[in-house]
Amino acid sequence: MHKTSKWLLGIFGLLIGLIWLFPFYLIIVNSFKTPKGIFASVLKLPAPLTTANYGDSFRALNFLGSLTNSFIITVAGVLLIILASSMGAYALQRNHSKLSGFILMLFISAMLIPFQSVMIPLTAMFGKVHMLNMVGLVIMYLGFQCSLSIFLYQGTLNSIPVAMDEAAEIEGASKWQTFFKVIFPMLSPITVTVAILNIIAIWNDYLLPSLVLPQSQYTIPLQMFNFFGEYTKQWHLALAGLALSILPVIIFYLFAQRYIIKGVTDGAVK
């Protein structure tokens, strides 16, 4: 591509990026305002600038505690989802039978169920076996999120030549080894994607953990919603809290991007 057109494209991208960022401008700017300041004008820069919101929010959210909870749940959930879904997708993609087609459709259909319509039977079931806690929650996330993940993995597996499996098998690798040593590493770009999508889904989730977690295991969003009473909404704290809570995810995302490797199948086959 020409250098100039690349340059233009870069500028164009930045312009769109600015539009995209505008709401974040609101979040950041208002998180430094007093409540009065927020409502005097949302768009303006903070007139009396205050950093107190961050401290207050940090305390009110019991930030370190709920961060730890969020962290444990997210990491456990995402790891489990990645592992189980990639395996499941591999089994389904490398098998061309009616049965596997059916199972895939089953997974895909599950994505269409509105959560609200299963929420009561679901919690009832888990409650009966005393699983309304982090462990139960992680299992639920696996159930809800594995469909999308399998779907994503399945599509990518299509483009990984079966020759890879064959070569490994000839070399004496078991299915297990073939998968973990050869296929799974080749899935890394989509794994990063799956991880990111699941992290945001779990990290931000409110409704499900609110039904499942005891208060001692509250996550950041659950704590955050304490800022939203029926009448009194403490936006100044909520926005500061939001800024605090999305920071880890952004850092992760920036970090993960480096691992999205280009062209994983390059050089594999003629």
Binding site: P161, A163, M164, E166, A167, A168, E169, I170, E171, G172, A173, S174, Q177, K181, V182, P185, M186, S188, I261, G263, V264, T265, D266, G267, A268, V269, K270
Partner: protein
Amino acid sequence: MVEVNLEHIYKKYAGNDNYSVSDFNLQAKDGEFIFFVGPSGCGKSTILRMIAGLEEITKGDFKMNDKVMNDVAPRDRDIAMVFQNYALYPHMTVFDNMAFGLNIRKNDKADTKRRVDEAAAILGLSDFLQRKPAALSGGQRQRVALGRAIVRDANLFLLDEPLSNLDAKLRVNMRAEIAKLHQRLGTNMIYVTHDQIEAMTMADRIVIMDTGKVQQIGTPFELYNEPKNKFVAGFIGSPAMNFFDGKISGNQFVNDSGLAVVIPEGQLKVLNDKGYNDKALTLGIRPEDIHAEQVALDTFPEAVIDANVQVSELLGADSMLYSRTGNIDFIAQVDARDYHKPGDDIKLAFEMSKAHYFDNDTDLTIL
């Protein structure tokens, strides 16, 4: 250490109308070095893949040491394979690609390293051990694929055109290395190639195939000197054998466009006995059995023909004369000293004792 038997093997790919392999039979004795040759698309890779267990056998039995292996998983067959399309692991370095099979078997790390280093040295890959396949040249990739197979002590080696992307020199080296490997390990090897020299020089036996069917199985010598049919005769040898349609007239082989060469006594008797007197048949003669030197013209005066040189190629010691007699094109491989320019009218002598004859209906060799 294994005997390999393929019995009445058929293969039809889902979606195809025809069998890609039909009624394939082969008994490979312990330690044999078998070559598969045949035109592109004739089913060579397919058979290799069936032996490896990568492709289902539609019909027939594949046995190793008399045990039917059709349903044994590839990993339990203890076979090493070089894939025609390499199938390298793109996310692993060259070293890891080659060490993979050994690591899987929990081979001692130090030993693995030793073996890989050794193989890499042989293959000229020592400088590339830490690269990923994407940063290698075509030939380097192919060598990695070869290296992956040779570091292992498998029972059976399957090599699908392992040297096709290498230059002549490297090829010669590699050929020698593979031959050494075969000697050292004493294992069976099955080797697919389109390079006749490879097949002719290395094979214990060659399987020559066409459109999914075996045409002939034999030693290089047999295939070259006693081809079973016209296909084999035409396929083995480069440039290929020349064919002339015609018939026997008296003691001569003649065709419509004026070719007339005397058939030696012995041959004539057999042909007459088999009833080919006056029946259409095909004469085959290899380019190297057609001569242009005066000595030869003098030696074989009864088989001298007039020809016109169309194209002439100088190939080191030899010269190829793409010639025409009547309306038939043929090639003569003559001494480079007997160089002729295109357009020259020349005389050529057929060394008829080396001639072959084929039935026009069955394409089978008569003599």
